[in-house]
């Protein structure tokens, strides 16, 4: 061993910088805003948000360029096999950039109003986005862990932004401690997988498991490792029973941050989930698929049933995001039916779901941000009669909520349809039925919010509400427009999704 090391000097892997440019752009943006922002007097109104939006746009455009390069040259792995450069990665990065754009538009006003205007929030948004981008691109468990921690640490800080009230403290602390636990599980899982396969690289794990049928049948190391990875990722996607943090954290965090967490956090965690399990551990799918099945069903049922009794809109949306996680898990379950020719459709269904959901949830929380400011809180009763004060905004919220409920002609229906179709294709009828029924229960939650907004009697205050900040209105309009366009003409998103079915190994 030592002789080998001595004989071959360490050669760093060749790095294709341009392929990594979307991530580098985000990172540069984060560092720039923190560095320059701390040296200059506060930027003029909206400057930080504008810079962040611009960064998101640049990163998004760069990602589109990479998409075209993959079209021409094919997918591959980079940086010594540790980065997967395929369309799935790029697609997820684009989703992250869109979520970042919408979030920064939404937060501009909120941050300014809170008298804490500074570059930190936006810097953290971008850092979290970098972490998320690394997660979705990583083809190596160690790199995945690095991305996960980068994103999580930024999100912990963001969650605790309202540190002066107890809910904000609770959110930050709870997220941090439970997140730390889950990271520990995840890391231990990586160690055990390494023990079983002698690699942390997803492609190599895949190849090792393909041929390996152990004579003694002793897979304990591997199976425990898979279980621990499942726990770690399950926490990040807030799957039941690892979901308990999310209602408290969603409620305590500033609303735009919640939207960011729900969108970017889910995109990154699910993309990584798919990469590790569908790409790396696929030859053990028969071992972990039942576990995913159980988790998915539990997530669907618990997410929708517990939502029914909530009275806080952000908590409601937290449970709704849990139930959405259940739907995405169905995609993973479907993709794990290796025997079926159609299993790959599960992957594209997840990817499409992630993109549509990211936009949807950012838009929803943008509306909640605006309405909460009018009503003075995020309790359901604070939303009473919002439609009288702001009919256009209420209409936007209605579209977004109907979309979350999966009503046709909205993007949410397209997303759900894709996942259910993937499940039916591999003959997972039971889970498809359970999912649709839990969607019915979840619909009750969205109806309750709509009832509060449209139909509840408002407290008699006729004062005209303040003008909606332009950036916030823009972000809502973008989200609603996207929701309807995709809902009415989904073809283009679906064909993008269809090109994602193959994960690079």
């Amino acid at each position: 061993m030592s002789t080998i090391l001595a004989a071959t000097p360490f050669v760093g892997p060749g790095i294709e910088w341009f392929a990594l440019s979307p991530l580098l752009a985000l990172l540069a943006g984060a560092l720039l805003i923190l560095l320059v922002g701390s040296l200059t007097p506060p930027w003029k109104r909206g400057g930080y948000a504008a810079f962040t939006s611009l960064t998101a746009l640049v990163a998004g455009v760069l990602a589109v360029i990479q998409w075209n390069r993959i079209d021409d040259n094919g997918a591959k792995t980079l940086v010594g096999g540790s980065v997967a450069f395929d369309k799935f990665t790029i697609f997820a990065i684009i989703a992250i950039c869109i979520a970042l754009l919408l979030t920064s538009l939404t937060s501009e006003d909120e941050v300014r109003a809170s008298n804490e205007e500074g570059p930190e929030i936006f810097g953290l948004f971008m850092l979290a986005a970098v972490g998320a981008g690394v997660m979705v691109a990583s083809n190596d468990l160690i790199l995945l862990f690095l991305g996960l921690e980068t994103m999580s640490l930024a999100l912990y800080t963001l969650a605790a932004k309202e540190r002066r009230n107890s809910e904000g403290q609770e959110a930050g602390l709870k997220y941090f401690i439970l997140g730390g636990f889950s990271s520990a599980f995840f890391l231990y899982g990586i160690a055990l997988i390494y023990g079983a396969t002698s690699s942390t690289n997803v492609s190599i794990i895949n190849k090792t498991l393909r041929g390996a049928v152990r004579a003694d049948g002793n897979d304990v190391l591997l199976l425990v490792g898979i279980g621990l990875l499942l726990i770690g990722l399950g926490f990040k996607v807030s799957a039941v029973p690892f979901h308990v943090w999310s209602p408290d954290v969603y409620q305590g965090s500033p609303t735009p941050v919640t939207g960011f967490m729900a969108s970017v956090g889910k995109v990154a965690a699910f993309a990584a989930f798919s990469r590790v399990f569908i790409s790396g551990l696929i030859y053990r799918a028969d071992d972990w698929r039942p576990a995913v099945w159980v988790i998915a069903v539990a997530t669907l049922v618990v997410g929708s049933v517990l939502a029914v009794r909530q009275t806080n809109v952000k908590r409601m949306l937290a449970y709704s995001s849990i139930s959405h996680a259940g739907f995405m898990l169905i995609g993973i379950e479907a993709a794990a039916h290796v025997a079926s020719d159609d299993a790959a459709n599960g992957v594209s269904a997840i990817a499409v779901y992630l993109l549509l959901y990211a936009v949807l949830v950012c838009g929803t929380f943008a509306v909640v941000t605006a309405l909460a400011k009018d009503g003075g809180g995020t309790e359901l009763k604070d939303f009473a009669g919002a439609a009288r004060r702001r009919p256009a905004l209420a209409l936007g919220l209605t579209v977004l909520l109907l979309s979350q409920a999966g009503v046709p002609l909205t993007s949410g229906f397209v997303a759900k349809f894709g996942v259910i179709k993937a499940a039916v294709e591999v003959e997972s009828y039971a889970i498809a039925i359970i999912a649709m029924l839990s969607a019915v229960i979840a619909a009750y939650l969205y109806l309750r919010i709509m009832v509060a907004v449209w139909l509840a009697d408002s407290p008699e205050e006729t004062e005209a509400p303040a003008r909606l900040p332009f950036s916030l209105a823009l972000s809502v309009a973008l989200a609603v427009g996207f929701t309807l366009v995709v809902g009415i003409y989904p073809q283009w998103v679906l064909s993008l999704g269809d090109s994602l079915t193959v994960l690079i190994r």
Binding site: V407, I420, K421, V424, Y429, A432, V440, L447, L494, D498
Partner: protein, 514 residues
């Protein structure tokens, strides 16, 4: 290429809804004008459709087909045949009547927008020949109806609206999975992946057990919508709490989505399963007829009474649908229209009573005949039509259903026939309590029918009497499609329709109105 009339029937009201939503609230007359115009144009188109429909042809007419979502084999495929023709016409005519004739009292603009959107959705459901497209419309109608009940209904409206939404969505949950599974399983037989109804129905050959599972996935959604006992409990709540216009539309066309769904999708796609499971549907329909009638007798609220009578009437329609004979099924389609007209008119009348007295409780009303004789006369005709008195429309439909069902579902029909008597019981008893006797103090200034109200009722009564006296034009258009559906079922299951079927029904339709 000819004018895409069916597409226009969907898009015109949808566009109207958009226009109404964009107009300024401060110009109510413009808003109303836009709504009336679009619904009138739609009505005109549906009448034109009726006039140029080729009588005697069984197949789909005016079809239009465009790619929509190629990746999923979904197309914008519309068509109309004898089964859907009159439902489409009814939808086209009922909405302008409701929009012009019934005042929402507040927030007219969103009300009209939802109404038009609802019309577009219902039209789409009746016209779709693509499973996915049908599902889209079938689901989308929930949204405007939810807001109409929740926004313009009575005291307990939010509960009723939510119950309505959740119940129907519960059924659709099964149907969506069923639709996807149907399309996927049919892929090999059809040769490519498509949601096209005709392609799947004509080419797919499901194994018996598979077909039954799929059929029940669809059937649950339709049974909720009909509603079939025991899934009917949303209906009395929704009807009672809905605003008058909502009730009229709900009874008039929306409940028909369920019975129409059985005919168009359930029986057409899964003949074997439908034939196999018909005893179940006979039983549920018969229970619905008897139970609905008894429950209606017990009601103290006039609107709830009419709602339960709907459960009974739709039981007849389901009975006729599954009887699988030409008379019974033709009668079912006819009865869908009749029920829409009669019950729609009943809800209208109950709404007028509520407008005047602000109560729907039977015990609060008394002796209205004395103070408002014309109103009472109108009520009587509509009521008699609902009971099924010969010479009015209800008789034709129910008689055809009972005659046709007697051959294939004898004992169920015997029991169901008592439902006709029960209908007389609950409606006449209610009439007696509300209209007979001396009016007490609060009822003595009950206003007589206003010209606008009378005009609207006249349209309904004209339809009631015309269909009752001369149903032949309708039967001639409905029957060919029904016969071809029965042939389709015979080819694909071991069912054989009774031999003397066609002669019998010709004889019936001739003799009926002479």
């Amino acid at each position: 290429m000819s004018f895409p009339i069916l597409t226009a029937l969907i898009l015109v009201p949808a566009f109207g809804a958009l226009v109404v939503a964009c107009l300024k609230k401060s110009r109510p007359e413009l808003v109303k004008l836009a709504a009336v115009l679009t619904s009138a144009v739609t009505a005109g188109m549906s009448i034109w459709l009726l006039a140029s429909f080729k009588t005697g042809e069984a197949g789909y007419q005016f079809t239009s087909q465009h790619e929509w979502v190629e990746a999923w084999g979904i197309s914008w495929h519309l068509g109309i045949d004898g089964i859907s023709l009159f439902l489409v016409v009814l939808t086209g005519l009922l909405f302008p009547i409701v929009i012009i004739g019934i005042d929402p009292h507040h927030d007219e603009k969103p009300y009209l927008a939802w109404m038009l959107l609802l019309q577009a959705g219902v039209m789409g459901s009746f016209l779709s020949l693509d499973l996915f497209l049908f599902f889209v419309f079938f689901e989308i109608v929930l949204v405007p109806m939810y807001f109409l009940i929740g926004g313009w209904g009575y005291d307990n409206r939010i509960f009723a609206a939510t119950k309505f939404f959740i119940y129907t969505m519960f059924g659709s949950a099964f149907m969506l999975v069923g639709i996807i599974a149907t399309a996927l399983l049919a892929k090999n037989d059809v040769g490519y992946f498509t949601f096209d109804l005709v392609q799947i129905a004509e080419h797919a050959d499901f194994a018996a057990s598979t077909g039954r599972w799929l059929f029940f996935a669809f059937a649950i959604a339709f049974a909720v919508k009909v509603p079939l006992f025991p899934l009917h409990t949303w209906l009395p709540d929704a009807h009672t709490q809905a605003p008058t216009a909502g009730s009229v539309v709900l009874a008039g066309v929306m409940l028909k989505l369920g019975t129409y769904g059985f005919l168009r999708f359930g029986l057409y796609l899964f003949p074997e399963a439908a034939n196999w499971s018909k005893p179940l549907f006979f039983t549920l329909a018969t229970i619905g007829i008897i139970y609905g009638a008894i429950a209606a007798t017990m009601q103290r609220d006039l609107k709830r009474l009419v709602a339960y009578s709907s459960v009974a009437h739709l039981g007849f329609i389901v009975l006729g649908t599954f009887a699988l004979t030409s008379q019974a099924m033709t009668g079912s389609v006819l009865q869908m229209i009749n029920h829409g007209v009669s019950t729609g008119a009943l809800f209208l009348l109950v709404g007028m009573i509520y407008e005047r007295r602000h109560t729907r409780l039977i015990s609060e009303l008394k002796g209205l005949q004395k103070v408002a004789p014309i109103f009472a006369a109108a009520f009587t005709i509509v009521m008699l039509s609902s009971i099924g008195v010969p010479g009015l429309n209800g008789f034709v439909g129910e008689f055809l259903i009972l005659i046709g069902s007697f051959e294939t579902a004898r004992w169920w029909t015997v029991v169901a026939a008592t439902g006709v008597i029960l209908a007389a019981l609950y409606l006449l008893w209610a009439y007696q309590r509300v209209f007979h006797g001396e009016p007490d103090e609060v009822n003595s200034d009950f206003a007589e029918l206003k010209p606008r109200e009378g005009g609207i009722l006249l349209i309904f009564i004209a339809a009631i009497v015309f269909t009752g006296l001369y149903p032949k034009p309708m039967i001639d258009r409905i029957e060919p499609s029904i016969k071809s559906l029965i042939t389709h079922i015979e080819e694909r299951s071991d069912y054989k329709a009774p031999a003397d079927d066609s002669e019998h029904s010709d004889h019936m339709s001739e003799g009926e109105h002479e």
